[in-house]
């Protein structure tokens, strides 16, 4: 029987957890607070944690100066699109590696992961040229493909890890009951791995939403997502910190809300199979 933790120990653990959470969340909190300050208050020295003159002016300015809904919609389409396409490719791939491994499966997995080690800028010019030539530049489809390919190794790796936790005998039983490969994956494997698939999906949406290098480089006016929206408010000369903070807050808010409501699913998926 597990020994109950002492109240003191529980208190200390709780305090430590809150402290760590606060440290991690502090930059986001600071950004949100700054977005409601005047520009002068935003850069005051020493820093003003709570401003004397709160304002919504930054949000008004940012909203009126940019077509936020367009950037937002582009972000939604690109992140969800790349995630769904990635899952459609990754689920069968991870299934085959987990349940029908070959001699080179491990090497293949390592090779896929190694593609993530290459700096993005190394393929900037080739990818830029390819996108130009085949008409994918500044299109949502182009970015869906690019981000799907960027994140595919991570999706396959995560799904592979989850699938490995599922006993092969269950799939065997389904096969003996006459299930086709399609039925086996769709009706047996997928429901069992749903927490893992859901957390992979959420993580991939977050990665795609936050991606800035490719989304800024491969777009101009039509397909630019919220990363480009933020970049348009950054300036080296002049005080635009409060406006930049407001733009950043508007950009991360949707994904923050999504993360908040799906945190249970996310944690469950990320710790799937961690304790046996």
């Amino acid at each position: 029987m597990a020994r109950a933790a002492s109240p003191r120990r529980t208190l200390l653990t709780t305090l430590a957890a809150w402290s760590v959470a606060l440290v991690i969340f502090f930059p986001v909190l600071w950004m949100i607070l700054t977005s409601f300050k005047t520009e002068a208050s935003a850069v005051a020295m020493p820093p003003e944690f709570l401003s004397a003159d709160w304002t919504l002016e930054n949000y008004e300015t940012v909203w009126s100066r940019s077509d936020y809904p367009r950037f937002f919609w582009n972000s939604v389409v690109i992140s969800v699109g790349s995630t769904l396409l990635g899952l459609a490719i990754a689920i069968p791939a991870a299934w085959s590696m987990a349940f029908v491994p070959g001699k080179r499966t491990k090497d293949l997995l390592m090779w896929m992961l190694s593609t993530k080690m290459m700096p993005a800028v190394a393929v900037l010019i080739p990818l830029y040229l390819v996108f130009q030539r085949i008409g994918l530049f500044d299109t949502k489809l182009g970015l869906i493909l690019a981000l799907m390919l960027m994140n595919l190794p991570i999706i396959i790796w995560m799904l592979y890890t989850y699938f490995k936790e599922i006993p092969g005998e269950i799939l065997e039983a389904a096969r003996m009951d006459g299930a086709s490969l399609w039925n086996e994956i769709v009706y047996v494997l997928t429901p069992m791995a749903l927490p893992g698939i859901a957390s992979t999906m959420l993580l991939n949406i977050i990665l795609a939403w936050n991606e800035a290098f490719w989304t800024i480089t491969l777009t101009t006016t039509k397909a630019a997502p919220l990363s480009a929206f933020i970049a348009s408010f950054s300036a080296p000369q002049g005080l635009f910190y409060a406006k930049l903070s407001a733009a950043s807050a508007m950009a991360i808010l949707p994904i923050l809300i999504l993360g908040w409501f799906s945190q249970k699913q996310l944690v469950r998926g990320l710790t799937f199979g961690a304790v046996k």
Partner: protein
Amino acid sequence: MKMTLRALLGATVSLTLAGAALAETTITVATVNNGDMIRMQGLMDDFYAKHPDIKVEWVTLEENVLRQNVTTDIATGGGQYDVLTIGTYEVPIWGKQGWLVSLNDLPAEYDVDDLLPAIRGGLTVDGNLYAAPFYGESSMVMYRKDLMEAAGLTMPDAPTWADIEKAAAAMTNRDQDINGVCLRGKAGWGENMAFLTAMSNSFGARWFDENWNPQFDQPEWKATLDFYLNLMNNYGPAGASNNGFNENLTLFQQGKCGMWIDATVAASFVTGKDSTVADKVGFALAPDNGLGKRGNWLWAWSLAIPSSSDAQDAAKAFVNWATSKEYLELVASKEGWANVPPGTRTSLYENPEYAKVPFAKMTLDSINAADPNAPTVKPVPYVGVQFVAIPEFQGLGTTVGEIFSAALAGQKTADEALAEAQAAVTDEMKAAGYIQ
């Protein structure tokens, strides 16, 4: 029947021609995020009224991101942008590469001779004007008149570095958290190296000799760095090695700097509504050492057309409008003369209304005091006042900037920093094939 057919045919042709005449050309303008550019986006109705057949789409990006995207597009001949906002650093390099369209054929009413000679010179390569200046700036001394008066000093209109040191010593009051002088210390080719390179010009230093040999081992650079480090260590703010334009602006606006030597564009900020010392600011030319060159830089955000653009005529119409005399009058009529993009046209400074703007004359004098084609006391093989217009300079400037910033932070001596800079720049110039 024949007549009907002919009439129908004629009507079809007329409609087709009318359609072609009304066909809209869309141009994409890549720009940085600064107040003048944002203001222009708000005044586009005037452009559309004059050019109903042209539609303008904007891509606004942070300066370095813009530079990277535009460079990639231009180098690959992508043609994604029709008008580029670029600086005086890019124009000589890109113009030489043939990446930009010559603007020598702008209409006579554009009055190209009205452009300030120093700015025009920085945007011209082999007789071709490759970019039209939208906004120009130099650097100057901004100082606290009240503190100078309290110290019993008067700031000359054209001070020397000795004047600056004397004033900094007199105005420094650590008890009241007032630093005599605030200067850039944050590492970067456009941060501390913009200031230090311009400053070194007034000390007789140069980045390279006529044969591209690095010159950081010469006494002029030692004099520059020694003076800068002493000035900042004795009279500068704490943590100055982290301070760039925005940090110093904040310090000055909060009354914590006696002097600030930086971009002329800062004048409108330090006298603006966010400044606590708005009515106490005086202006003077950047300092010199009596060698014939002042420590001020020259920069212009300009509009250029990449040769890969497939809408060059429409792009030219836009550039013509945005950098014309009429545009300056349009801004003045809507937002007041103080908000007109400065530093591009002689006629602006001859306008009696604009002369009332407190920093107008000093901005003009500062711009006129810089010559990008002869920036240093000794001869050099490059163009550029606070930069060297070669593709390698961004990397070189940042490397040397980090070394000098570390010296300001006390992590190395001036001699060590100069030796390190000399070695780093020599290696890079050898690798790039400039020297053996």
